[in-house]
Structure formats: structure tokens, C-alpha cells
């Protein structure tokens, strides 16, 4: 058990921030993301014998954390209208992250945000992202392409910054 605990602790230290960033990019709420990622890691520890052999344990944790968000959303949906939940969410953004960026991310469909987060923050390639989410590689590429195009369009501040840098 001691060896497994050390191994898991090393994994946790190396992966926690990237998992948090990926989930925060999808849910747009730092506190909620940390809560879900912590629970994702807890479940990974509970099933460590299995998770440690996963092709990408970080992706397992992130996927689990995101699924927890879906479960939470479903619970909330039974209690309050979806519009209310979405309207309240922007007030609780990821700390220190450009609000324009968070707003632009929230405009993306959930699947596109998920693909974006896995590709960018976990550095997963198309094939692995497809396996983790359970969709075809071609669909991953299509989601990624659309998400990037939408961000380029919806991020005026980013375009401005890019222009300033190029001058």
C-alpha cells in the first residue's frame, strides 16, 4: 500500500494542475472545477490498481471530473431551470483567467470545450482524445477546428493583443 500511495502521490503532484485547468476551461468555475477534480482523483485513488494501467491516467481523472459535472448539472436541472443556471455561472469564473476568454469558451458547445481542454491542457493527440471521449478521430478534429475558429472570431481582445504583439 505504501508503494502505491507514493506512486499515486507522484501522479497527483504531476497531474493535478493540468487536470484542474482542463476542467476549469470546460466548467468556467475554478472552485467547482477544483471540487470535481479532487473527487476525480479520489475515485482514481479508489481504483488505482486499474487507473494506473490506463493509457492516460490524467485523462481518466479529467473525464471522471467532467462526468461529475454532468451529474451535478442533471441534479440542478431537476431543481432550477437551465437558463437560471447558465445565467448565474459567469459570475463565478476561473480566478485570474481573462473574463473575455471564459465568456468565449462558454459560448462553445460542451463537446467542443471538452475536446479543446483535452488537446490543450493534457496535450493529448487526436487519437487519444477520441478514445477518451468515445468519439471518432475525425469528429475530434472537426470539433477542434470549429472551436478554434469560434474563439478566433469571439475573442476580440485576443485579436487586439495579437495585433499589438505583431506591430
Amino acid at each position: 500500500m505504501g508503494h502505491q500511495q507514493d506512486e499515486f502521490a507522484d501522479f497527483y503532484r504531476a497531474s493535478k494542475d493540468s487536470c484542474l485547468r482542463a476542467v476549469a476551461a470546460v466548467v468556467g468555475d475554478r472552485k467547482l472545477a477544483e471540487e470535481q477534480v479532487a473527487e476525480g482523483f479520489t475515485r482514481a485513488w479508489a481504483a488505482w490498481a486499474k487507473v494506473r494501467t490506463h493509457p492516460c491516467p490524467r485523462a481518466w481523472v479529467t473525464r471522471t471530473a467532467l462526468n461529475l459535472g454532468v451529474s451535478r448539472w442533471r441534479r440542478l436541472r431537476r431543481e432550477v431551470p437551465l437558463a437560471d443556471y447558465d445565467a448565474a455561472a459567469p459570475a463565478r469564473q476561473a480566478d485570474g483567467v481573462d473574463p473575455d476568454l471564459i465568456a468565449a469558451l462558454r459560448l462553445l458547445p460542451a463537446r467542443q470545450r471538452e475536446v479543446l481542454a483535452l488537446r490543450i491542457f493534457l496535450d493529448l493527440d487526436t487519437e487519444t482524445t477520441a478514445k477518451v471521449i468515445g468519439i471518432a478521430p475525425g469528429t475530434v478534429m472537426a470539433h477542434m477546428s470549429r472551436a478554434i475558429a469560434a474563439l478566433r472570431r469571439d475573442l476580440p481582445s485576443a485579436q487586439t493583443k495579437a495585433t499589438e504583439v505583431s506591430r
Binding site: 503532484r13 476549469a24 477534480v37 479532487a38 475515485r43 485570474g96 483567467v97 481573462d98 490543450i120 485576443a158
Partner: protein, 208 residues
């Protein structure tokens, strides 16, 4: 602004986010989660040394076994066509597994779940039996006792509180017998599809 720029900006924007939760909290939550799953299992005192034992229960008579549906939530009695789990005397749990030609239709996951709700961790297999690859944990005779069989069923009374820490029950369900052993949670197990193959120190409760 090309794709690379967008990805770089995203990475940089989130680079200030760091997980504050210490790993110790994850371990603590894991322990709490496990305690909840075991639902009231009282950890027994350290097991004394003893011979490994495998209990073999014989078939009482022919009876039809049907597939079990998932057990309902709660810790109360579970009575299904293929098996039933009920609270027994003195905090023990009575497991009845109905035997017959359709024994393979028994849902081992449903049995495992029903036992877990009574605080009894178990590995349940149908048509095979798993036991410790090396020395089996001692104390099986304090944990499992033969019950009063009825209607062609195999009955056993299980005292979950007497299980040594870090162990679970291995229950192998065959057409002609139910075999039980204690195994360690993290230890290696050896599984066999032969109903008649026993480890040393077997105890036949009835006829087996």
C-alpha cells in the same frame, strides 16, 4: 491570429490556476468513500494464525435459478429469484443461493452489491472459484457458518464483523456446490473453473 496563437493564449491564460487540495485530503476522502461503501463494516481484530480453509456447500436439491435483477438500494433484505440476502441473528447476514441447472444465470454483481450493503466485501464468481494464490487468510470458520437450507438452496450465515482487516470473501458458485474462501484485498488470487479442486484444509459442511 492562427490556431497556434489561440492554443498558446489558452494555455497562458490558465497557467495561473493551481490545485490547492493537498494529496492527503484525496487520501482522506478515499478512506471516507471506502468506509461508506463498506456501509458499517466493523473492522475485526487482527487475525490469528491458522490453517487456510475452503468451505464447500453441497446442493440440497434441484431448483430453478433465474437471473437476478439489480438489488434495490438500502441495507434491508434482498430477495430475488436466484439468491437472497437478509439480516440474520446477532448482526450476521444470511445469504441463500438457489441452486439448479440455470445457475449460470445468477448475476454475481448483484450478489456482490447486496453483500456490500451488509458490510461484506466479496468477490463473487459463477462457474469458477478464486482463492489466495499463496496462504489464505485465517479465520474463515469464524466468518461463515452453514445455514439451514430450504427449497433446494445453499444457505450460509456470514458474520462480516469477524472478517480480518483487508480481506474479502471469495464465493464461487457452481451447479453442484458453492465454495467460499477468504482472500486478501490486494493479494494475488488463483482462479479455477473446477468445482472439485480444493486447497488444503477444506471443510465440507454438508456432503460436499
Amino acid at each position: 491570429m492562427n490556431e497556434h496563437d489561440v492554443m498558446t493564449q489558452l494555455r497562458e491564460s490558465f497557467s495561473g490556476l493551481h490545485m490547492d487540495t493537498p494529496v492527503a485530503e484525496v487520501f482522506a476522502r478515499g478512506r471516507l468513500r471506502r468506509r461508506r461503501q463498506l456501509a458499517g463494516l466493523t473492522v475485526a481484530t487482527a487475525a490469528t494464525a491458522g490453517a487456510a480453509a475452503v468451505l464447500a456447500l453441497s446442493v440440497a436439491g434441484p431448483a430453478h435459478t433465474r437471473s437476478a435483477n439489480p438489488a434495490p438500494p438500502g441495507r434491508g433484505s434482498v430477495k430475488l429469484a436466484a439468491f437472497s440476502v437478509a439480516r440474520g441473528p446477532g448482526g450476521s447476514t444470511t445469504l441463500i443461493m438457489r441452486n439448479g441447472p440455470k445457475y449460470r444465470q445468477l448475476d454475481p454483481a448483484a450478489v456482490r452489491l447486496a453483500l456490500a450493503r451488509h458490510g461484506i466485501p466479496a468477490l463473487v464468481t459463477v462457474g469458477s472459484f478464486c482463492r489466495a494464490a499463496h496462504a489464505a487468510p485465517a479465520g474463515l470458520s469464524r466468518v461463515v457458518h452453514p445455514g439451514a437450507p430450504a427449497d433446494g438452496s445453499d444457505a450460509m450465515v456470514i458474520d462480516g464483523r469477524a472478517m480480518p482487516p483487508g480481506t474479502r470473501l471469495s464465493i464461487g458458485y457452481f451447479r453442484g456446490a458453492v465454495k467460499i474462501a477468504l482472500i486478501e484485498d490486494t493479494g494475488r488470487v488463483s482462479c479455477s473453473t473446477a468445482a472439485g479442486q480444493h486447497a488444503g484444509g477444506n471443510t465440507a459442511i454438508r456432503g460436499g
